[in-house]
Every structure is written in C-alpha cells, then in structure tokens.
C-alpha cells in the first residue's frame, strides 16, 4: 500500500516535471536539430549537433548581445550593491532627522511602476546624450527601494552588541559595515546580488526603447531583433540563440536556488 502510494507520487512528480519543463526541453532539443528536420516536423530525428550554436555565433551578434548584457547587469549589480548598502546602513544604524520621512519617500517608489516613468526618463536620457549607451542603460537603475528595504531588514538583524563591540575595538563606520555587517548578512547580500543580476539580465522594456544599435543592445532585446528579421526563419538557430541567452540565468537560479527560497520571502516586490 505504502509502496503503491510512493510509486504514484513519483509518477505524478515525473509527469508534472516533464510538463513544466516541456517548453524548455523542446527548445533545447530543437536547438540541436537541423532546421530542415524541424520544418518537416521530424522531432524524433537523431541528427543532433551543435551546428545551430556555431551558426548563431558566426552569423548573429548574439555573443555581442550577451557581452552587453553581462556589462550592463554587472554594472547595475555593483552600483546597487554600493548605493543600496549605504542607504540601508543609514536607515538601520544611524539616527538622523526626518529619518521616517525619508524612509517613506524611498518606500513609496515601490508603488510607482517604472512603466509610468519611461516617457520622461527617455527624454532625460536623451537630453543627457545617453541614448544607446551603457550609462543610459545602467545609471537609472543604480538604486532600488526594494534593495534598500531588503538590506535594511537584514541589517536590523545584526545584534546591537556587535555595533557596541565594534565601537569598543575602534572600528570606524565603514569598517563596521564592511568587516561586520556585510559578512554577517552575507546570505541576504548574495540573494540580493543574484536577484539584481537576474532582473537586469532579463530587462526588456527600457533597452527596447533606448538602444538602436547592436553595439549596446542587450540579449533580451537582441532576441526580438533576431526573431523579427524577415530573413530569419531559421528555427534551429533561433532556438540556439534563445537557449544561449537563458543559460546564464538558468545556471544562476540552479546554483542560487536556496538563497532565493529563503531570501525573497523576507518581503518585497518582484522586479
């Protein structure tokens, strides 16, 4: 009876896992097949090879797109880590006038959808001469209320005795932050950093309206570019580029899974 129950559970798990993974698995499978087989509906073909990937790298700018995404996501990640950490430190450890008011002003930006700000932001970035450039794609995202909030919550968990101890042994503010607070809260920091990277690697709307050339175009918009090119109906290569684009974030997710499971629960809004 128990054995039967367990078997049913496994069958159910495998079926549902297959169903959930189907779009991804099919995509990977198609990316290994020649387009001729795909168009002919021969999905059971065994002509698998990495030819589509070779073609994607040689004939499309997908590698350049990925490089752009890497640069953009990394810059934002570092920028947010510095800016959000500083603000979160002030809110968690310093006493100052208007603290609650300023904190509220930060929080309220979580209520304001970025989609409602893109028009003036586009005009601002254009006025600064930052269209189709790394600064225009990164600087507007150097801070986030979500990040400040998440890090502040983590910083508040640092026992006040550790602050007293660091005063006692003569650590300055910055040393307290870098040598005690950040290591102490490192699992939140890791979650935050991974999440920021993931979010901005996957960003779509802003690069869509501010990039016009392959030189700075990131992957997600690059996918649209490739998919919408009239001559581009080579399914094998399309799927290969899509898989290449999603592979880094998929790896981050698999490696960082346990951090996401614990960290994101702490509260906040999905990007």
């Amino acid at each position: 009876m128990k054995y039967a129950k367990r078997t049913i559970h496994y069958v159910l798990l495998i079926l549902i896992a297959l169903l959930v993974m189907a779009p991804l698995l099919l995509g990977i499978w198609a990316s290994l097949l020649p387009t001729t087989d795909i168009v002919a509906g021969h999905f059971n073909s065994l002509n698998i090879s990495l030819n589509n990937y070779v073609a994607a790298i040689q004939t499309t700018p997908v590698v350049l797109y990925m490089w752009n995404s890497l640069v953009i996501s990394s810059l934002i990640m570092v920028g947010q880590l510095i800016f959000c950490t500083l603000a979160a430190y002030a809110f968690a450890f310093l006493q100052f006038r208007f603290k609650n008011g300023i904190f509220f002003a930060f929080l309220i930006t979580m209520m304001l959808p970025f989609e409602a700000q893109i028009i003036p932001n586009f005009q601002t970035v254009r006025a600064l001469g930052w269209l189709d450039s790394y600064p225009g794609l990164t600087i507007p995202f150097f801070t986030s209320a979500f990040g400040v909030f998440m890090l502040r919550q983590a910083f508040l968990q640092v026992p006040r005795e550790l602050k007293e101890y660091s005063d006692l042994i003569g650590l300055g503010r910055l040393q307290f932050l870098t040598r005690i607070v950040l290591p102490y809260t490192r699992s939140t920091i890791i979650t935050f950093v991974l999440y920021t990277f993931l979010t901005h690697w996957n960003a779509y709307l802003w690069p869509l309206i501010t990039t016009f050339s392959d030189a700075h175009r990131p992957t997600q918009v690059g996918l649209k570019q490739l998919q919408s090119e009239d001559t581009f109906n080579n399914w094998g290569v399309i799927m290969a580029t899509a898989i290449m684009v999603l592979l880094p974030t998929l790896l981050i997710l698999i490696i960082g899974q346990r951090y996401f499971r614990k960290g994101l629960n702490a509260g906040g809004v999905k990007g």
Binding site: L112, A116, R261
Partner: protein, 308 residues
C-alpha cells in the same frame, strides 16, 4: 570622532543634542547617492508624467496646450482603452490564479520527503531562470502554426489548421498560458520556502491527535503559509498588470487589440503614435492600480512583521 548617536539605543532614546552630528554631516552622505538617482529617475519622471497627462502634447513630446483632465476624458471614452483595460483585468485574474494554483500543486508535490526531491525542486523552479523574452521565443515556437507542437497536436485532435496567435481567444489563452509558466518558478520557490518553515512539531501534534492529512493541510499548512500566499497574490497581480515582454514578442497586442494590455498600450501610444499626453494619462491609471495593490501589500506585510 566617535559617533555616540549611532549606538543602537532603545527606540525611545534621543541622543544628547550636544553630541549629535548635524544631519548634513553624517547620514546625509549615505543617502545622497540613492536620493540623487531616485530624484532624477523616479520622482521627477513621475511628476512629469502627471504633468504631461494634463497637456496636449506635440509630436516631440513637449507639452503644447493645457487640457486639464481632457486626456482622461478622452481615454475613458475611448472604446479601445476600455477594451484594453477589460482584457488586462481578465488576463490578470487568469494569470494570478493560474500561477498560484500551479505553484501550490508543485510545492505540495515537492515537499514530500523522497529521494530525488532536490532534482524535482530544481526542475519546478527552473522557469524563474528563464527570462520573459527567452520564454516568449520558446512559446512562439510551440504556437507556430506549421512547426509548433501545440498547433500540430491540436490539428491531430481534429481542430484543423489553427493559427492560435491570430485567433482572439487563442491569442489570449496563449499569452495566459505562457505567463503562468513564466511566473510559476518564482511563486513555487516562495511557497516551498514557506512550506518548509512550518515546524514539524505542529504536524506531530496533529498526528498524535489523529488528524487526517487533509485536515492537517487545511488547519495547519494553509494558515501557516497564508502570509506568503497573500504576498504572492499581490506580487503576481502587480506583475501581471505590468505585463509587456510577452505581448511585444508573442502577439504584438493583437489580434484586433485583444492582447493590447495597458502597459503595452502606454508604450504604443507613447513610442509608436507619439501621443505623450494620452500615454501619460494611461500611465497614471496604471500607477493608481499598482499603487493600490502595493499599498495593500505594505499594510499586510507590516502586520506580518509585527505579529510574527
């Protein structure tokens, strides 16, 4: 210089005034970088969007003529905007419910203590690692009338040569299906975390009291994960209202504006039709919807923090 004022003292404590830094000398510098970015790229554009929504704008996007609430009157008397709003709400409802139900099912299956559970957890979480754009490509492939497996399957089931994406209902279903898939990983991971943090003691006590596993689920599991569930519902609703990428890639808002959801309409009116005034008014409507949802979440999260 020691800063007495940064010692964490009880909440009622006010540091001695004489030993306090002037505010512009300490905390200010920690906040400045974030404040500058937020002022330029959040507060200012938000104010400008409100401002623009009250003006008729010319093709360069500059405010040309004050029209008061004219743009709002225009959009609310525009059947297309109504259609967009209605379809957005339908989409949001179906997507959120679908994501939560799927995630609950996945989390329930994945918490079983069996060998290989880790593999299945990774599998269920995997969609969170797939960007909306890449996911859209995967689903476009599935929906493609000539090579897509879903289309081929439907054909073999006797539906004939259907092009899902050019059929209004079909396109809506396609967008909902792909969006549920994209959102399930995130919701699953959160629910899994919540389910795993329910102390085993509760179940032990319940088992001793002879509760059925069904009763345990309803009386222990659901109440214990309800904060997370609520958090997820709000997050999914907010996310669904902002849905853009899938639309732009899979349907382009069509056919016949069926999937022209509000965030996409803002984009089209602003960047395709250069009607900044109208687009701004629509953006403000979106903002109000999102703000209300976020406010509910804050209120609730606050309570959650206090009573835990």
């Amino acid at each position: 210089m020691v800063s007495h004022n940064e010692t964490a003292v009880p909440a009622t404590a006010t540091p001695t005034p004489a030993k306090r830094h002037p505010w512009w000398r300490s905390a200010f510098w920690f906040l400045l970088p974030s404040l500058v970015i937020m002022t330029v790229f959040t507060y200012y554009p938000m104010v400008m969007t409100v401002f623009n929504s009250l003006f008729a704008t010319n093709l360069t996007g500059a405010a040309a003529k004050f029209v008061g609430f004219g743009n709002y009157v225009t959009i609310f008397s525009d059947p297309l905007f109504f259609k967009s709003l209605t379809n957005t709400f339908i989409f949001v409802a179906c997507d959120s419910v679908g994501v939560i139900l799927l995630a609950l099912l996945l989390a329930r299956l994945a918490t079983a203590r069996i060998r290989g559970a880790g593999f299945f957890r990774t599998a269920f979480a995997s969609t969170m690692g797939v960007s909306a754009a890449a996911a859209s490509i995967l689903w476009i492939f599935l929906f493609n009338p000539s090579v897509g497996l879903i289309s081929i399957g439907l054909k073999q089931l006797g539906f004939g040569n259907v092009n899902i994406l050019t059929d209004p209902t079909g396109a809506m279903i396609a967008v909902i299906l792909s969006s549920i898939w994209m959102g399930s990983g995130f919701a699953f991971l959160n629910l899994l975390g919540a389910l795993q943090s329910v102390p085993q003691d509760y179940y032990d006590v319940a088992s001793l009291a002879g509760w059925s596993s069904w009763r345990q689920t309803w009386k222990i599991t659901i109440p214990m994960v309800s904060p997370t569930l609520f958090f997820l519902i709000v997050v999914e609703v907010i996310g669904a209202f902002k849905t853009f990428t899938q639309i732009d890639l899979i349907t382009g808002g069509g056919p016949d504006n069926t999937t022209n959801f509000i965030a996409y309409k803002v984009y089209q009116d602003a960047f395709n039709y250069r009607n900044i005034g109208i687009a701004s008014a629509e953006a403000i409507v979106l903002t109000v919807i999102i703000a209300v949802a976020t406010w509910i979440q804050f209120r609730y999260t606050e309570r959650k923090v206090y009573y835990q």
